[in-house]
Point group: C2
Chain length 190, copies 2
């Protein structure tokens, strides 16, 4: 996978256009011609930079993954209380959701790309594993009992809020509250 920093100006515009179109309309429904047009480049440049549509899809998810992880990390770091840090991804999700109302791009991508050998498949799956591991680490650092089970519960709450987000049922607030309660209950002395 090509690094984002190594990309040419046209390459960056292509990924940006792909991100907006793929996320809002779906991957299969968006053709490379449209992406080239929206990015102000040509299909030739797109193929020179990325080789295939599949690789561009992978680049789209990798870019998005990078941005999401960096938001989560900075949100975690700005909590000084380690107990509050455990639920920081829920706070990050609230900010993230303001500009992303079509659910989880990785889950959506997995829905469209069932083939495990697709270059984008592993990126989407890894994002969830990363979050699960992060929850485990944060719960352990906060001294929570049963950090593995707690992390799985937090992941489910997080993904459930994200999956139901397009339905606008206010699930994020409810799941954030429950997540906080679970963490507090798992911390021995408080």
């Amino acid at each position: 996978m090509q690094e984002a920093q190594a990309r040419t100006p046209a390459g960056r515009r292509i990924v940006a256009a792909a991100e907006e179109l793929f996320y809002s309309r779906g991957i299969t429904a968006v053709g490379v011609d449209l992406i080239a047009e929206r990015s102000g480049t040509t299909k030739r440049t797109l193929y020179n930079q990325f080789g295939s549509k599949d690789q561009l899809v992978a680049a789209y998810l990798a870019e998005r993954d990078q941005r999401w992880r960096s938001l989560v990390r900075s949100t975690v770091e700005t909590r000084d209380d380690p107990v509050e840090a455990v639920t920081a991804p829920f706070v990050a999700l609230r900010d993230w959701s303001e500009a992303n109302t079509r659910g989880c791009a990785f889950i959506n991508a997995l829905a469209e790309l069932p083939d495990p050998s697709h270059p984008a498949h592993r990126i989407a799956a890894d994002e969830k594993l990363w979050l699960l591991n992060l929850f485990t680490e944060l719960a352990t650092a906060a001294g929570c009992s049963g950090p593995a089970a707690l992390a799985t519960q937090l992941l489910v709450l997080h993904e459930g809020a994200l999956a139901t987000q397009p339905l606008a049922l206010g699930t994020l607030a409810e799941s954030t509250g429950l997540a906080r309660a679970l963490v507090r209950a798992a911390v021995p002395s408080r």
Copy 2:
């Protein structure tokens, strides 16, 4: 929407083939030619019966919705304890998941069909609202305190387990356990 009972034999075979293909490969990625071939019919028959691919997609989701609701209802009815009945959809999901390992067909459909005016859009959204209302009714019947908030939490847990199902992380067992604990905690005297 045409009733399933009113469908001709060829129509039923077409919906069955569409269900398998749409769920396993994605909606946009599957063409009507393939569906006609797999169902042992012709494209002409498909269009005579359903009018358009979009309508067939709606029929696919409606059929699936009907089957899922009937499984949930029968699972609810076989619990004699009203407290156990509240988490019956989680039990139904365990059975359902044995043959459906590609996540939630409705969430996946929403990922591919962002247009709210698409005939399938409302069907997918309604399925989630139905489940939320069912949780509310069951929680109320079981005498739970704060049934609305509890129902939202249960929905999030349910959808979270479903969304992370393709990742095979064992989230269903964990979320079922948490759901049971939440219901028990909301029942006054037990």
